[in-house]
Structures are given as structure tokens and as C-alpha cells.
Amino acid sequence: MTQRNRLASGGQINRDETLKFMFDGKSYQGHAGDTLASALLANGVRLMGRSFKYHRPRGVLTAGSEEPNALVELRGGSRQEPNTRATTAELYHGLLAKSQNRLGSLRFDLLSINDRLSNFLTAGFYYKTFMWPAAFWEKLYEPVIRHAAGLGSLSLKDDPDVYDKGFLHCDLLIIGAGPAGLAAALTAGRAGADVIIADEDFRMGGRLNSETFALGDNSGADWAAATVAELQSLSNVRVMPRTTIIGAFDHGIYGAVERISDHLKTPQEGKPRQILWRIYTRQTILAGGATERPIAFENNDRPGIMLASALRTYANRFAVAADRRVAIFTNNDDGHRTASDLHAKGVKISAVVDVRADAPRSLDYEVLHGEVIDTKGRLGLTFAEVRLADGSTRTLECGALGLSGGWNPNVHLTCHQRGRPTWNDDLAAFVPGSDLPAGMTVAGAANGDMSTTGALQGGRNAALSVLDLDNAPLDLPAAEDAPVVIKPFWYVEGCSRAWLDQQNDVTVKDVKLSHQEGFRSVEHLKRYTTLGMATDQGKTSNMGGLAIMAELAGKSIPEVGTTIFRPPYTPTAIGAFGGRHRGQEFHPTRLTPSHKWATEQGAEFVEVGNWLRAQWFPRAGEKTWRESVDREVLATRASVGVCDVTTLGKVDVQGTDAADFLNKIYCNGFAKLAVGKTRYGLMLREDGIAMDDGTAARLAEDHFVVTTTTANALPVYRHMEFVRQCLFPDMDVQLISTTEAWAQYAVAGPNSRRVLEKIVDQDISNDAFPFMACANITVCGGLRARLFRISFSGELAYEIAVPTEYGDALMRRIMQAGAEFDITPYGTEALGVMRIEKGHAAGNELNGTTTAQNLGMGRMVSKKKDSIGSTLSEREGLNRDDDLRQVGIKPVNPEKAVPAGAHLMAMGGPVDAAHDQGYVTSACYSPNLGHAIALGFLKNGSERMGERMRLVSPLTNVETEVEIVSAHFIDPEGERLRA
């Protein structure tokens, strides 16, 4: 029989639209407007999953996002999503869902043996049982537990969907679109305020959709629909259904997840599945409603036992009777509403069991004064055992049992900034405290105003108040205004296997055990028992645990206090946090001006920061990268090579105090640098450690171009601005980054001048343009350019720069001009080899631990002027003779490699940290020398030239005999540079 529990009429479903779906391989039908849970219940399916630890049969407990039990694996293949709440999953045609956490079928779960072993599986079981022997944990216990525990399973495939991030700004954010939220939105919207109203449900209206109350002449649902329609017509109001506010952050920033495509089988082409919004708002009205809580008693977790309000939602909103025979167990008047609503829809009410002697009576069904003490039904509820006030017992036949233990205002978002809720005796619940996040006002049930009238008025008044409006003309419809009448009642005396947290299988017995074992803080209770630590964060369970803990400790509930509420409010997909930043788009890619050309040459690329740089340019027949790199190095030193060095940071420094400014940021002097000259500069941190190095070219008296290393461009610029703005605010100096404004190429090698002479329009002979010269020039008949005669390779070399848009053309022109000299493009590997051969320090040497002294540049630190780091670099500890000095290292046996990271030890001495003499920072094979070479730091290194040492790398099992040599392997006198 299809949809045997669907009521003949009513509900906010579209009966004309029938949707087919599959659950555990079986086909069912539901309607548009259903959730998976309501559709399953309509089809008489109560058993929806197995519990986490004991594998107990479980059904749905709630009708909302607080659901702990009815978690399914939704969809299949790469879109399979575990732990999806059936109560919030919108039904769509072709929906596919599987129950989870079972071994075998849902009806005959082989792991339900755990339930029989429950005496051993109480709180702290894992801590106590799997402690010993230690080796068993990794090999035996953990794999077994991992296999048996856990909820749903991952597809282990890439998520094919995309997620967006977005940013919204408003004057007023309204969280929740129940009666309070809608009244607030209508008030603010009509007054012209810039409003966002968000609700996690796909149908706005909150409890108005679940109740039968009238609002004026309309049903609550109709009033909600009409109000939403009006709000949608206002251009100043953004109405966001399917949007959960997941966190309240500092200063009016809220996180929101909008589910764009979760209700579709697959997202539309190009559309995201979800959007993670960051909402900036001046004011917020939290109208998040309240959550009903259950009552604990023996075997209170059978499928069919659910919140009384959920039964009402299924009946009124979805036209579903969870069963044709229903009982209610309540401690307050609200529970009776479920009985009267269901009775009116023709559902048989077995009885209403109320713990209060003065409970309201009914002519339509029996109201019993007593408690439900146990239930029966292996895979679903069949009977409830009731103990009446006089001590006698009765058995009620029922397929569903509604529990109403009172309502908890949804205070979560009020606590995200460490706010503490306060206890309200009348409601027997926590309500928002006075320490709300700045700009937040709470209205409606979230604020403890539990009647519809209270919610409508609370919402309207909150909007008037936060927007400072004079009595806006919003007439509220007449609505119910019943007071909350409740007798606090948390659990039935004498129960033990009575579930508090159904998702983590925490029972009353576990809480008692935790108390018995000395856990007194509510935070300890939580962690020891795992109460409230599941994906539902204890929305339906925490209060019960607190109440029992308070009773055992002889304290009041507010004295025990709550655990801290943290974002996200409901589980949020990691994909939403990642947004578009994944795979290739994880971070931005920076391309050099010659990238297209390099790609055409078949270059291999390497990521340097966000840059993609050519690493080497393989040629036909070259089998290893070393062959390519060796060729590039040899060809450059023999004739000429070209390399894109655009990635180096460039900062334009101008102003009448520009030279004084450079004197501050560099430890060496710049005041006397002539116009048209370039100088190497070493930048120290204030503590004397080397920060970065580069060159400064003086293009005019008041104009320098400073370069930084590729990786440090950003931090160095930040540091320069710090020095300018915070330390020397009256210097006339202006800074701007020009890293990407210029395409810059190094042209290096003995033939570099001959190549460039064919390109530049000026005389660049050695006399006209000597070593370290710089100038604004033109190239190719008039294009503005810059030329620097600087060398990283140690060869006669230039760096030539043109505006970036001409970079591609210039590289092609250089290659053309250099053809007669067999010009060779080289990548970062050859660049690295040549600088090691030349003994130039780079990032491996300027590694955040080394000083100018370590780098052999101690004498560069000018003592005649103040510069950043100059004072502290004079500290005794940084100026010891036996301190590390940069040296060159070569293997005694030229066949041997010299691994970077290896440490230097004395010959014949012990190999341990206490006898460490230094380490290798950069190593390569030198094709010019025909053996491996390296740079490194060695204690008192400059005095130890020629010494033989052991180079050891215990991790890679390498030990090599090496000789300490000068770091300048090639052209130590620098003759080539000046040629």
C-alpha cells in the first residue's frame, strides 16, 4: 500500500506532484513539499537507522534540524553524503537514500550484539578497556572499533559539485522566519530598512506551518505565505529560505550557508550546491524559535517514539500520521495540543500520559496521571507501559508515542561570543542572557515568548526598537496567547537504559556513572560520556543530562550551567568552507610575462609561492632534468643565456629622503650611491637576523628601484611601510610595488652584451655602462625600458625590463637576437646552480636564523649610521669568532653527492647533536667543476679552509668525506662580472 499513513487532506504538500524515491533499495512515493522523513513516515517506514554504539533500531525523533537519529546516506556515487538528516532532506524525484551504521540489513544488523553487551560499553568504556597493552591499540583495537563505529561512510571520491562564497551587507539581519521573524521583517521592510531574513527551512513560517492556530481570519500557514510574498516584493528585503545562520562572529559578522541545489538531484550546470555567505549587519534580530525536548525513560528510543511537536508537524504540515494509534507523554500543556490536533485528523489517541495531577482533561481521549516507564517493539514501538499515580500499571497499544518535556529557546547564537544563558523557572529552560553579541536582539520563542501573540509582538517590537522607528503601522493579527504551564520533569525514576543523547548513545545510567566517578564539571561530563558531542550537538539531549547532573550533585540546573555553544549551529560541509578554493584554484596562480613563450618551448614549471616559473627547458634527447640543467649552465657560461626574473619583488622608492630611507632599511650604506648605479643591499630584522637581500638602483637623486627576493616581496614591502609610517613618519619618501609592472629578464654570459646591443638603443659598452650601472633606456627603436648591469650568475650579465605588456615580445626578440650566439633559455634550476657556483646567498642561507656575520657580510653592517638591526647585531652572542660562517663544501671523492640538510662533523669524532659543527644549506652538481658542490654554515668556517670533515645525514643514511673550501667556486676575483 502506498503512503498508508498519509492523511486524506490538509498539509502544505502538493498532492498533484508525486515524487518517487528509494530507501534501502526499496521504491516509495511522496509529494512535493515532503522531507525524506515525512515521506518515509507516510509510507509507514518508522525504522530509519541504527544507533552509533549499540546499533539499536532507530527512527525519527524530530521534524527539524535538531534530529539526532534519522541520519542517512543521501545520493550515490561521488555525491554520496553520509549523516544527512532525513528530517531536513527535501524530497526530490529520484532521491536515493540508504540507512547507515549497520552490518547486514537494517532489520537484522549483526552489530546489534553490542546492545546485549551494553553492560561493558558504558561511559568511559574506550578509555578503560583499550588502555593495555599499548601495542594492541594500533594493530587491533582501533581498526576493529573504526570498522564497527562511526556513522555513515564517505564515497572517497572527489565531490563533483562546487561551492561558492559570498558577501552580503544589511542594516538588519533577521534569523528565523517564524511568527517573530516575519513580524520583524514586515515591520522593518515596510519602513524601508535594508533587511535580510534567513531561515533554514525550505518553507518559511516556522511553527506557523506546523500548527493549526488561526492568525486573524487566516491559518498560520497562509498568513506566513502571504507575508513572505509581500517581503519578496520589497526591493529592500532579501528573503533567504534554505539558509542556516551557522555562527555569530565579532562585530556583526554572521556566517550563513544557503543550500542552492541540495533539493535537486544534481545542481544546474555552473551553479553551486551551497553558498557560504559572510553577512555584515548593523543589527540582528534572532528569532530562531525553540526546540522541544524529550523525557527519558526505559527504552525510550524505539522507532515511533518522537517529540510531540514533531508528530504535530508531520500531521499538520505534511499530512502524515506517524501511526494510526498514538500516545502522548507530557509534563506541560503543549503536549496536549498534539493529542487534540491528531484526534481532529482521525488518529486514535491511546491516551495522554501527564506527570501532573492537574493536567487538562479532554472529552475526546483519556488523560492519565502517571509516567511511561517502558516500551516494547523490536523494530518499532508497539506498546507503552504506564505507571499511574496510584502505583498501578497499564499497557497502551500505540505505534507512535509523542514526548513533550517542555521547550528550550534556541539560544545558541546568543552564546557564540561566550554569552551565558540564564535560567527561567516559569519555562523550566534557559533563555538568552544579558551578554548578547553586540547588535543582537532576541525575539519570540528564542527569547522565551512561547505564544504566537508573544512572538508576533516580540518580533514587531524588536524591529521598532533596533531601527528606532516610531510606532510603524503594522497591525498584528489576533492569535493564540496561551501561557506556558509546565512541571519540570526530566526522567522517570528508576530508569537506566533511558536514552538522553540518541546520536551518541548516552543513557541516564552513563550520566550517573560519570558522577559516581567524580566528574563534576558539566564540560567533563560532556567529554567523558560524549553527551552532546555528536553532530546534533545535543540540541535535544543536553538539558536532560544537565538536569540529572544537577540532581545528583544537589545543585540547581543554573548552578551546573551549560556547556559552551560553538559554531556551526548545524553541521556544515567542509566543501562550503573551501568554496572555490580547491584544486587548481586553491590559491591564485601568477604567470610571468614569458609564460606563454616558455610553454611553447616545452618548459617544466615549478611553483615558487604563487608564481609558476620555468624550472628547466628540456630538449629532445635529454633523459633527465640534470642533462637539461647542466646544458643550460654550461651554455650560459660559455656564451649567453636568458632567464625570466620578473618574480623578484620590486619597490619604487621616491622622495627627497629616499636615500636616507634606504640607509634605514639596509644595514649597508646607500647615501653615497651615485645616480646611475646599483648596489647590493642586506636587510636585517631589528634583532640582527638577516631578513632579505636585493639590489637598489638609483635612477635619479630622489628615485630608487629596490628588489626583494621572490618569496619575501610582500613581507618586505610591509616592513618598508612600517619603517616609513611608524618609525620615520616625517621622511619624504613614497613607496609603491612595481613587481608586476615590469617584465624583467636576466641576460647572462660572455656574449650577453653583444645580444643586447642588437636590442637597446643606447651605448652599453663597458665604459658607457660598467658593472653595477643602471639606466632608463629605450629598446627596439623607442620602447621605454630599464637596464641594470647586475649579475646573479657571476657572468657578464644584465637585467633588462620593459612594461609587462611587452614582455612576451621582448623575450622573443632576445631569442631572435641571440640566435647567432646560441642563446639558451635557462630556468630556476640553472639559476640556482650558477648562484651556488658563485657563492651567492639565497633563501636557503637567509633562512631566518642567520646574521650578516654568519653570511660573511658582518663588515657590511655600517656602524656609522642607524639602520634596522644595526644595534642588536652588535650583541656579543652574534659576534663570536667560533660562530657559523658561510663556507663552500666539496666532496673529497668527486663521484659523491653532497646532500642539502646534512650536518658537518669532525673527522673521527662522534656523530651527535652535541658535536655538530654546521650544516649544508644549498647543494647542486656543478657541471663546470664536474662534481657536487654546496654552500653551508660551519663554526669558525672562514678559518677552516681546506679542512676535511664528515658530512652526515643520519636520516638518509649518508656519510661523505668533504673538504671545506671558499664559497666562491667560480671566478672568485669577479673578473667576468666586470668584463
Binding site: F249, D687, E721, F722, Q725, C726, L727, D866, T871
Partner: protein
């Protein structure tokens, strides 16, 4: 967090880079007789209060201003934001 930029108004703290104690503005005189001690204190001795703190924030994804932000490190409340350049001048820094 939102930082009220003195020139640009409210800006998301995500646009800023944090550097810590604004006392870094008070760089000692290198020619003082106690320069070594002073720089040691400047470089290494900082307060780390749970409460109000004057901090340096750099508007890296904005106008590249260094700001002095007076912020409560416990509540994240911000009571005052000023351009560091103005603060530095007011504290006697010049060239």
C-alpha cells in the same frame, strides 16, 4: 572582526595583517648610552595583556596604512583606531 578605519570606515579584519604591540613605534635612540639595553627591551620585552591592548594592524588588502588599534583581547571590542603615522608623530617620531 570589523576595524573602523579612520579614513575608510568599517573594514573586515581579514583585510589586515597583524603585528602586535604598538610599542614597536617607540624605537630607541641608537646613540643613547643605554642603546643596547633599550633595543633589547624594545625587541624582546612585550606585554601580552588579557584586556585592552594597543596593536599594530597593516591594511594590506586596503590602503596600506599601518593602524594603531586599541582592542580588548578578551572581548575583541575595539575602542579606538588611529593612523600609525599620526600616532608616531604624536609620540615624537620624525625622521
Amino acid at each position: 572582526m570589523i576595524i573602523q578605519h579612520p579614513l575608510l570606515g568599517p573594514r573586515d579584519a581579514a583585510e589586515f595583517t597583524y603585528m602586535g604591540d604598538a610599542k614597536l613605534i617607540d624605537r630607541p635612540d641608537w646613540q643613547s648610552e643605554t642603546a643596547a639595553q633599550d633595543f633589547y627591551a624594545y625587541g624582546y620585552l612585550r606585554d601580552n595583556p588579557a584586556g585592552w591592548h594597543k596593536e599594530l594592524w597593516f591594511h594590506e588588502a586596503g590602503d596600506r596604512s599601518w593602524l594603531v588599534v586599541t582592542r580588548n583581547t578578551v572581548t575583541h571590542e575595539i575602542s579606538e583606531v588611529a593612523l600609525a603615522r599620526d600616532v608616531a608623530r604624536a609620540r615624537g617620531r620624525s625622521k
